[in-house]
């Protein structure tokens, strides 16, 4: 047995006190630390944590669809996926086999991919490949490469391709309108992207959606006045005509007479908005609206209108054009040949420059100029198309006889195809100048009276002669219908005067002549084939396009049908 000590060394009381105080102080320290973390530094630390794991992701909004007048889609936004990577994470965590597979799926070389990522190591976001179709994107994701993720985006598709290219324009890779209506109505079409807050792990995968900050607001749809069927026919015929005549380009506008709706608007050369590499070198210009040219003889009906207004001319008033050449100041006005004595109708039918000049010089100065101005030439048409040209008409009527004479047959001013179509629509619509439009917003656009209904009717009767035997545009005649129109073959202005063998051939016309439904203007730029006169060059396009339009819209034939060899059956309704 051990010897029990007699006395136990009782530690001094203060030691117990110290231990007690120390032990009690420990939780206090812990609490103080907790207070400091939770209350004092809490916000800062929370912020730091969120910065590492909370991300705001944007939710792409759907761009509005563009429809034609019958509701057929012309531009659709379809969802696609873009593959992106966090370069640092991918480089550090992906094994070589995964990199190889990823590069293979993306159609890249593994070394290039690695170099691209290496160059952007300090960034957190790098697009590997944009706009992949969702099925392919799933294949990429099934590789489970660290740091690689998808982002939903929308890509614009144009089912009609080249046919509607110029009118619609196109969008860039971020789905913003760049040209045409896509640009003009960008604010209307584009949606407001939404945002959500997500929690991401170290490898960039979304673990949890924390909250929706903003729901995406999809863009609104646009309904056009374009008729896809007519647009296609117009495209096909214009393209064929440009090829047949070996021309530089061309454009066509087809208007509904009563409403001013633009039913078709096509140009050559064209581009396919679905293939971005096509979009080069001015191919995307909507020539019908942006390009101006000197119209030439197609302006003669308006010169005749000025004559009718004076009250001194009727369609049957004789006009002497003998000997087919006329000197005005230093300038010589020529006809194709000597037509002898014509009537006012004959001046239009034969397209006599001398006749038109003689009428204009006989009228009070400025009358022709005034008519041109009233037809809306030299002013934008209000169609709200980006890059619309205003054309040119001199600010003041010229006093010089040369200019008065040349203005009478369409030189010394420049117009766009759309302006010309609109001016002809006034003749077609009994004198009401319509406001052309591309949007079928239901509301009728205002029309403005620019000539009396009687003068419009007289002009149509005179212009109907142009497509009959002996006129300049027999090629524009449509079986079963009467066609009123006028040709124009103008020389192109070049530096220092007019080019010798470079022409712009135009045909402007309407059908049926007795109660017009459609107005079309066709321009062929520099036909270099055998023909350059507007009749054989542009006339057949009018016949094909407007002929089909009349058939598709069930317009009653107004020509004596027996002449065309049709059978007529009568019956009670």
């Amino acid at each position: 047995m051990s010897r029990r000590p007699e006395t136990v060394d009782t530690p001094p009381a203060w030691r117990r006190g110290v231990v007690l105080v120390l032990l009690l102080a420990l939780p206090l320290v812990l609490m103080a630390r907790a207070v400091s973390l939770q209350l004092l530094e809490g916000d800062f630390l929370q912020g730091q944590g969120d910065q590492r794991h909370l991300r705001v992701e944007s939710l792409p909004a759907h761009r509005g669809t563009i429809h034609d007048r019958h509701g057929e889609p012309l531009a659709i936004s379809a969802p696609v996926d873009s593959v992106w990577a966090d370069p640092g994470v991918t480089l550090d965590e992906a094994d070589p086999a995964q990199m190889q597979a990823l590069a293979g799926q993306l159609g890249l070389d593994a070394a290039t991919l690695r170099a691209d990522l290496e160059a952007r190591r300090s960034r957190e976001f790098f697009y590997l490949r944009r706009h992949v179709d969702p099925a392919h994107a799933n294949d990429v994701m099934s590789l489970e490469v660290p740091g690689v993720a998808l982002q939903r985006e929308y890509r614009r598709f144009y089912p009609a391709g080249e046919v509607t290219g110029h009118v619609l324009g196109f969008t860039d890779i971020d789905d913003r309108g760049q040209e045409g209506l896509e640009l003009a109505y960008e604010d209307w079409l584009s949606g407001e992207p939404g945002a959500k807050r997500v929690l991401r792990d170290r490898l960039g995968r979304n673990i949890e959606d924390v909250e929706r900050l903003r729901e995406p607001a999809p863009g609104r749809d646009l309904h056009l006045t374009i008729d896809k069927r007519l647009q296609y026919i117009a495209y096909r015929e214009l393209k064929a005509a440009v090829e047949r005549n070996d021309a530089l380009g061309g454009s066509l506008v087809l208007l509904d007479v009563t409403t001013g709706d633009i039913l078709a608007m096509v140009n050559q050369p064209s581009f396919n908005p679905n293939r971005r590499q096509d979009i080069t070198g001015g191919r995307y210009r909507n020539r019908a609206v942006t390009d101006i040219y000197e119209p030439g003889s197609v302006m003669k009906p308006f010169t005749v209108l000025a004559a009718l207004r004076s009250g001194r001319y009727t369609p049957d008033t004789p006009v002497e054009t003998e000997p087919g050449v006329m000197r005005v100041g230093t300038h010589t006005v020529r006809d194709v040949r000597n037509f002898g004595e014509l009537t006012v109708t004959g001046v239009l039918r034969k397209s006599s420059n001398v006749g038109a000049a003689r009428i204009a010089l006989d009228l009070e100065g400025g009358r022709v100029w005034q008519v041109f101005n009233e037809m809306g030439l030299g002013r934008p048409t209000g169609v709200a198309f980006p890059g619309e040209a205003a054309g040119f008409v001199s600010a003041m009527p010229s006093e010089r006889p040369v200019e008065r004479a040349t203005l009478a047959f369409g030189y010394g001013l420049s117009v766009t195809n759309l302006q010309l179509a609109r001016a002809y629509a006034a003749i077609a619509a009994d004198g009401m100048l319509p406001a052309p439009g591309l949007l079928s917003d239901g509301g009728r656009r205002s029309a403005e009276r620019v000539m009396s209904a009687e003068h419009a009717r007289q002009l149509r009767e005179m212009l109907a002669e142009v497509t009959r035997s002996g006129g300049t545009a027999t090629q524009a005649a449509i079986p079963g219908y009467q066609v009123a129109g006028k040709t124009g073959t103008s020389r192109k202005a070049v530096a220092g005067g007019y080019a010798d063998s470079r022409y712009i051939s135009t045909f402007a016309g309407m059908a049926p002549a007795t109660d017009p439904r459609f107005v079309a203007v066709i321009t062929i730029d520099e036909p270099r084939g055998e023909d350059y006169y507007a009749g054989p060059v542009a006339g057949p396009v009018f016949r094909a396009v407007v002929g089909d339009a009349l058939r598709l819209y069930n317009v009653t034939p107004d020509a004596p049908v027996e002449e065309e060899g049709m059978t007529v059956a009568r019956g009670a309704p």
Binding site: P73, I76, S77, A78, P79, P134, R152, F157, P159, A160, G161, V163, D209, K228, R229, Y232, I233, R236, P479, G480, P557, V561, E564, G565, M566, T567, V568, A569, R570, G571, A572, P573
Partner: protein, 96 residues
């Protein structure tokens, strides 16, 4: 038991109850959120399919394609005027 003691006890019970309710509601909200997300996913998938189908329809209904088939495969053509019969309905004239 004194009245304040009873009150404290009741409040403690209420706190416990509310805590359990919070857990329960949180769980419900999570599962609802999951359902919502999966519905959103299927909506996106349907949207994708729909726009793909619309594009496919657009490609198949391309006028150039329809015209080619009509002309070449079926041999359709526009009738010449000689083969056209105009039907005129004499409105107001021949009413029985």
């Amino acid at each position: 038991m004194s009245r304040p003691g009873l009150l404290v006890g009741l409040l403690a019970l209420a706190v416990m109850g509310s805590a359990i309710a919070v857990v329960e509601v949180k769980h419900q909200s999570r599962s609802l959120f999951l359902t919502l997300e999966s519905l959103r996913d299927s909506r996106d998938e349907l949207n994708t399919a729909w726009s793909r189908l619309r594009l496919e329809q657009g490609a198949l209904a391309m006028h150039s394609r329809v015209e080619r088939i009509a002309r070449d495969s079926i041999g359709l053509r526009q009738p010449a005027p000689e083969r056209t019969t105009m039907l005129r309905l004499d409105v107001g004239e021949a009413r029985p």
